[in-house]
């Protein structure tokens, strides 16, 4: 009986060799698309370097001051105090540099995701066929276990920041595509008619009517993309992306629970600050509208 079972499972492994096809596909890309991937890699690397240099050039007290000021302005003095304390805690535990590297990675990946995601979302909103084709791809991108992207990314782009950022972009882009499309589709037909009735061109209709009205929804998508990017750049330390992820990874390898807690805490604090601040940009607009 158990013999039969093992035969079937072994057999079924061979009936549809999906994994081998994927391997062959990636190998094909490696053999034939090296120049393309190399040039993409150079561009991403330059961009990420530039963002990281910018972040690291800022003195820590200035970052804390600005973040706390924005916190006070958007969400009140309580949140401002929280931001100041949280960031100071990161400084005094000695994780400032790594936190800034992680923030820079998150920002690079988010900006690239928005650069491609928002136009893609607009396209989905305007074309039902595109929407039908892209939706399952988005589901796939979002639900595939995040680690899995790291393998082809590392094979195609080598180790370091670039495969980390590319894998993060793939994982973090779906929400902003989805919510851009949703936001534009939710603009009422009479609002679109009003735009047309008053002589909008197609471009004016998009930029003066549809995108501004969809903005709170799009901002919710941006918020989700940032949060997913942050979680992914930590995992991307497995391909050498750097930042706080390195410390988390080291703590696992060394079973150093103290290091794990400290670096994990820095990630949590950074996540809370990013989440609340970006959320406030979408929510403030919503409350003035309802």
């Amino acid at each position: 009986m158990s013999d039969l079972l093992s035969q079937v499972t072994e057999a079924s492994h061979d009936v549809l060799p999906l994994g081998r096809w994927v391997n062959a596909g990636v190998k094909h890309l490696l053999d034939n698309g090296a120049t393309v991937f190399d040039s993409i890699g150079v561009v991403v690397e330059k961009f990420a370097q530039w963002v990281e240099m910018g972040m690291l050039a800022l003195p820590f007290w200035l970052v804390i001051l600005v973040a706390a000021a924005v916190g006070v302005r958007r969400l009140g003095w309580k949140f401002g105090v929280f931001v100041a304390l949280a960031l100071t805690l990161i400084v005094v535990t000695g994780f400032w540099l790594q936190t800034m590297v992680t923030l820079a990675l998150t920002l690079s990946a988010t900006l690239i995701s928005l650069f491609f995601g928002i136009p893609l979302g607009i396209w989905c909103a305007r074309n039902n066929r595109v929407n039908a084709a892209i939706r399952p791809m988005l589901d796939f991108m979002q639900t595939m276990p995040a680690f899995v992207y790291l393998i082809p990314a590392a094979m195609l782009f080598g180790l370091g920041r670039v495969p980390g950022i590319i894998a993060t972009v793939i994982f973090a882009m779906p929400p902003v595509v989805r919510l851009t499309s949703l936001g534009i589709r939710q603009v009422s037909s009479e609002q679109v008619e009003a735009g047309n009735a008053f002589g909008c061109t197609a471009t004016q209709l998009l930029f003066k009517v549809q995108l501004p009205i969809a903005m709170p929804t799009i901002m919710a998508g941006v918020n989700q993309t940032i949060m997913m990017a942050l979680s992914m750049v930590i995992i991307a330390s497995m391909v050498g992306a750097g930042g706080l992820g390195n410390d988390v990874l080291a703590s696992i390898q060394r079973l150093d629970i103290g290091l794990g807690f400290e670096s994990g805490l820095a990630v949590v604090l950074l996540a809370i600050i990013l989440d609340r601040l970006t959320e406030s940009f979408g929510a403030a607009r919503k409350s003035s509208e309802s």
């Binding site: 009422s188 009479e190 609002q191 008619e193 009003a194 735009g195 047309n196 009735a197 008053f198 002589g199 909008c200 061109t201 004016q204 003066k208 009517v209 501004p212 009205i213 903005m215 607009r285 003035s288 509208e289 309802s290």
Partner: protein, 345 residues
């Protein structure tokens, strides 16, 4: 005879992808339902023709699904006509290429919507200036003009507020201001006051009539409310199932309704105040019954006629503009007529 401002001829709107097939069947005399059964195409507007004079408020009335909202959208081509012509100032709007259509919409025509359709991210001033902004008017000029129209609709102190901070009635004033700001010859109003409570609705109708007295625009007004139509309409057109079934002044519609569908609109509406002495003649009396008693001009309204007739025990003569005797009214004929009208209420 003055030339009409808007002249619509044989206008069709068919929803579906084989429009020529459906048009052919309609041309062969098939009904809208038969066309739907054969081709699955919905006939939204079925061979409608009408004229609107400059300065007129032309009300399109009908129940939901009668095609009135589609018809008004055909005029500025928010909905593309399937066939027919829309002649405005000697230009066929139905044949205008897209770029000219955009220019025409910016200058000559504006629209007010049932749900207001304001832009939530713009304040009241920027909402009112929306049409001018699209047309590329410089900031200062468009804001001055927007402020001027906000003053006309009584919202000058709300310029910096956002639509969500205003009540429904105020929001629709902004909608009206946005339309007036571009100084259009033609104003399209789609159930513009239907979403407002009855008091606000009457208030907006009065504002509309006041503005109309000053500026004399050509207005196409869609409504399902007969009282509104009677109050503001110069002429009323009644639509049923995509067809225009009757067109005329309030008085014509009330005294000679074309069919039961038209009559049904009168239910619950006091139409007696639109009757004139000419409608109240006693069929049992002729010119000879008039024995020199009081005289009434034929356009005297029912309440005025009542005051005079009920005080007399002899028939009252009704005379037209050329002083010709039309007939007589007696207290009896008045009561009969009023009881007939009361049946609608």
């Amino acid at each position: 005879m003055p030339k009409p401002k808007i002249s619509v001829r044989n206008l069709y709107k068919i929803f579906g992808n084989n429009i020529s097939e459906a048009l052919k069947l309609l041309g062969e005399g098939l009904s809208k339902d038969e066309v739907f059964a054969k081709t699955g195409h919905v006939v939204g507007v079925n061979k409608v023709s009408f004229d609107v004079m400059a300065g007129e408020i032309y009300v399109l009335m009908g129940l939901s699904g009668s095609g009135k909202s589609t018809l008004i959208r055909l005029i500025n081509r928010l909905v593309e006509p399937s066939s027919g012509s829309i002649n405005i100032d000697g230009e066929d709007i139905a044949a205008l290429p897209q770029c000219d259509l955009v220019k025409w919409r910016r200058k000559r025509v504006a629209m007010v919507f049932q749900s207001f359709a304001l832009m939530p991210h713009r304040n009241v001033l920027d909402n009112a200036a929306f049409g001018l902004e699209m047309a590329g008017t410089p900031r200062k000029a468009r804001e001055d003009r927007a402020m001027e129209v906000l003053r006309q609709v009584g919202l000058q102190t709300y310029a910096a507020k956002y639509p969500s901070q205003l009540s429904g009635g105020m929001q629709q004033r902004v909608g009206l201001a946005r339309a007036l700001a571009v100084d259009p010859d033609i104003l399209l109003m789609d159930e513009a006051f239907s979403a407002l409570d009855p008091l606000k609705r009457v208030e907006m109708q009065s504002l509309m009539l006041d503005l109309q007295r000053e500026q004399q625009r050509t207005v196409l007004f869609v409504s399902h409310d007969l009282e509104e139509a009677l109050r503001i309409g110069t002429r009323i057109a009644i639509m049923e199932g995509g067809n225009l079934v009757q067109e005329g002044t309030a008085h014509q519609i009330i005294t000679q309704p074309a069919n039961d569908y038209v009559r049904r609109f009168f239910e619950g509406v006091d139409t007696s105040r639109y009757l004139t002495a000419a409608d109240l003649l006693d069929p049992g009396l002729n010119g000879h019954s008039y024995n020199g008693g009081p005289r009434l001009p034929s356009h005297t309204t029912l309440p005025e006629a009542m005051k005079i007739v009920l005080g007399m025990d002899q028939p009252v003569g009704v005379f037209d503009a050329t002083d010709r005797l039309l007939g007589c009214i007696s207290a009896r004929s008045l009561l009969v007529k009023m009881s007939q009208e009361a049946r609608h209420v």
